[in-house]
């Protein structure tokens, strides 16, 4: 049973799957070693941009020729660690790398405002590590490898969140709580992996899937499933395991929240998708009524409860945090429907919500830069003082509500369609009902920005260009992907098909 190393010559393009993770991974210590505050950002941006380009290439290749398989170090699976990319993770990869790249120019001014100078280089190090970790989670095809990269990203996330301490010391306790809860979640995940290993004897995802398909399930596997779902659910802020999210998002530096809100929970949901569908397979799930009877009610609860709480917040960032929890509820609802349309809706909303929230948090950060706080009382009248920023917030806010012409509308449409297709009328009404709550909390922001008078002695001082441009790219993306849905819907639909009907069938290129 020895694994042989491959000795065939390979080109750079063959190594793309590992490069997407390797470049930021190497760039991280580089920033520390060089130690220069001025060089930290260019290195980070260069690495992120490289990853973005690679992920675009990977997505195009996957949509073209199917699953890509890459054996690290030439050690073949199932003993070697395999990177396996299909439409689902290529799409999430694109999201993560795009957001990671676009937020970087934004960080320049934002962290100058919020983080002490001596920590700014380290900020970029942590950012790169988090970036690496998230990309690694998405790209890997080995179950334990997921844990490793997950913890890399989580640990750097805890550090990033705590960096908001200069503005508000509650960032520290927020980071600590996140650490405790996140570690418990990750450890639950590891326990699940352990049970999986005990039952199947392998850690390679495709291999485990094959085993389960051949041998059916037993109690060990069901236990594994439970632990994995709860563990990742904690990371994905599934209601009621969401308690770390509001504080972490509110007190972290704005740039950090912009990045995390769009990526961290989405990656966790991706892991859930991967385990639920590819490894445990839909038939197993149908037996596991837990999905329908636990996941769906919790999703609906999240949608309504979190939206309702968001309505009554007096801090913009905190409101957005609760809104995120509600939106994750929508994604889970789509997953819980266990149909192609439902899964497509979930995946496309993963993307659309990612770009929407990134835009919104970047907008908040810009407001914080000029007004010194994110409370509604502090940002009154900013529509006059910062018109471009405010208008971008309006556009992203409309996407959050789901107004036609924005990305949010597309995901709502597919989600309602999925519900109606299955005949789940109450669900369809629940989806639109909670959207109405979104109207309320978004409109509070718009009224605060435009209908109130700005503070005494206000001047028209826009955010700096390095913040404005990424913000507008993101806001523009929410409109673009609301009108031209070709990329997102094709990728989501291919991904959903792949997940529901297993990726065991297709012969992977390079295996």
């Amino acid at each position: 049973m020895s694994a042989e190393a491959l000795h065939t010559a390979r080109t750079l393009s063959d190594h793309l799957p590992i490069l997407v993770v390797l470049v930021p991974f190497l760039a991280a210590p580089l920033t520390v070693l060089i130690g220069s505050r001025r060089l930290a950002w260019p290195i980070a941006f260069g690495a992120a941009l490289a990853s973005f380009i690679v992920s675009v290439l990977l997505l195009l290749r996957v949509l073209d020729s199917g699953v890509i398989s890459y054996a690290i170090g030439g050690w073949l699976p199932p003993l070697g660690i395999e990177y396996r990319i299909d439409a689902a993770n290529a799409f999430v990869l694109l999201l993560v790398s795009a957001i990671g790249t676009i937020v970087l120019p934004y960080t320049i001014q934002s962290i100058k405002n919020e983080i002490p100078p001596r920590h700014q280089t380290l900020f970029y190090t942590m950012y790169l590590l988090c970036f690496t970790g998230l990309l690694g989670v998405v790209v890997t095809g080995d179950a334990f490898n997921v844990f490793v990269f997950l913890e890399i990203s989580s640990l750097s996330t805890y550090v990033l969140v705590s960096m908001g301490a200069r503005t508000d010391k509650r960032a520290l306790t927020a980071a600590y709580d996140y650490l405790i809860m996140g570690t418990i979640g990750a450890t639950f995940f590891v326990i699940g992996i352990g049970f999986l290993y005990a039952a199947t004897g392998t850690l390679n995802m495709a291999d485990i899937a094959r085993y389960i398909q051949e041998h059916g399930t037993n109690r060990t596997l069901e236990t594994a499933f439970a632990f994995i779902v709860v563990g990742m659910g904690l990371k994905a802020a599934v209601y009621p395991l969401h308690l770390w999210l509001p504080n972490a998002y509110t007190y972290a530096p704005s740039a950090v929240t912009s990045f995390l809100a769009a990526t961290a929970t989405k990656v966790a949901i991706y892991v859930l998708l991967r385990f639920m569908f590819t490894i445990f397979q839909p038939d197993f799930l149908f037996e596991m009524h837990a999905v329908r009877w636990v996941m769906m009610p919790l999703a609906i609860l999240a949608m309504f409860a979190a939206s309702l709480i968001a309505v009554f917040q007096s801090d913009f960032k905190r409101m957005l945090a609760y809104s995120s929890i509600a939106q994750i509820g929508y994604i889970l609802l789509g997953i819980g429907m266990l149909s192609t349309t439902g899964l497509t809706a979930a995946i496309v909303h993963l993307f659309n919500h990612g770009i929407t929230k990134a835009a919104l948090f970047m907008g908040v950060g810009a407001l914080v830069l000029r007004s010194g706080g994110s409370f509604y009382a502090k940002i009154e009248g900013m529509g006059k003082a910062m018109p471009f920023t405010s208008f971008a917030i309006v556009i992203a806010g409309l996407s959050l509500i789901g107004v036609p012409g924005t990305a949010g509308f597309i995901s709502k449409w597919v989600l309602v369609q999925a519900a109606i297709e299955q005949g789940y009328w109450p669900l369809a009404l629940a989806i639109v009902g909670s959207s109405l709550l979104a109207i309320i909390y978004v409109w509070r922001v718009i009224e605060t920005l435009y209908m109130k008078q700005p503070a005494e002695g206000w001047t028209r001082q826009e955010a700096p260009l390095t913040m404005l441009v990424p913000l507008w790219i993101m806001a523009g993306a929410t409109v673009w992907f609301g009108i031209d849905t070709d990329l997102t819907m094709t990728a989501a639909r291919t991904a959903a098909d792949g997940l529901l009907h297993g990726f065991m069938g297709g012969a992977a290129s390079g295996y």
């Binding site: 334990f144 913890e151 640990l155 301490a165 306790t173 450890t187 590891v190 007096s314 009154e380």
Partner: protein, 142 residues
């Protein structure tokens, strides 16, 4: 029907469960931040135990080849893979613990205490103050 054989045969799982629950309990029940970290460590150690015990093969020896590489085909080796996994997990655990402790040091600097209930009291006071200054914008309007 748990017979004695069943209980003794699954000893490792019982120990793992007890240790895990102890650790989890400490995390939840203890108010001191450092104790929570300790609880977390206990929790994680239980998991390590679980993995390692999975790898043990009856009658197996340490998974190391002899120096002269004369491998006796009759030898039974314990599975080395869980050991490798746990090494990784231990490193992750160390990183987590050190990060947690570093955070506690900073919290001590800012809050002057590392007891959860005292920190909660300070934060609640902060929130109350905030609502007094900024809560006005909530209006009374629906």
């Amino acid at each position: 029907m748990p017979t004695l054989e069943f209980i003794l045969g699954h000893m490792n799982y019982w120990l793992f469960t007890v240790l895990m629950m102890t650790g989890l309990y400490i995390v939840v029940a203890k108010g001191n931040l450092i104790k929570k970290i300790v609880g977390l460590n206990l929790f994680q150690s239980a998991v390590f135990m679980f993995y390692i015990s999975l790898g043990k093969v009856t009658g197996g020896t340490a998974p190391i080849f002899p120096l002269d590489m004369q491998i006796d085909p009759e030898t039974v080796y314990t599975n080395p893979l869980p050991h490798v996994l746990i090494l990784t997990a231990i490193v992750v655990g160390i990183a987590t613990t050190s990060l947690g402790l570093a955070l506690i040091v900073r919290i001590r600097e800012e809050y002057d205490t590392i007891e959860e209930d005292e920190i909660l009291a300070i934060e609640t006071e902060l929130v109350r103050k905030e609502n007094r200054t900024h809560g006005e914008s909530m209006g009374g309007r629906a």
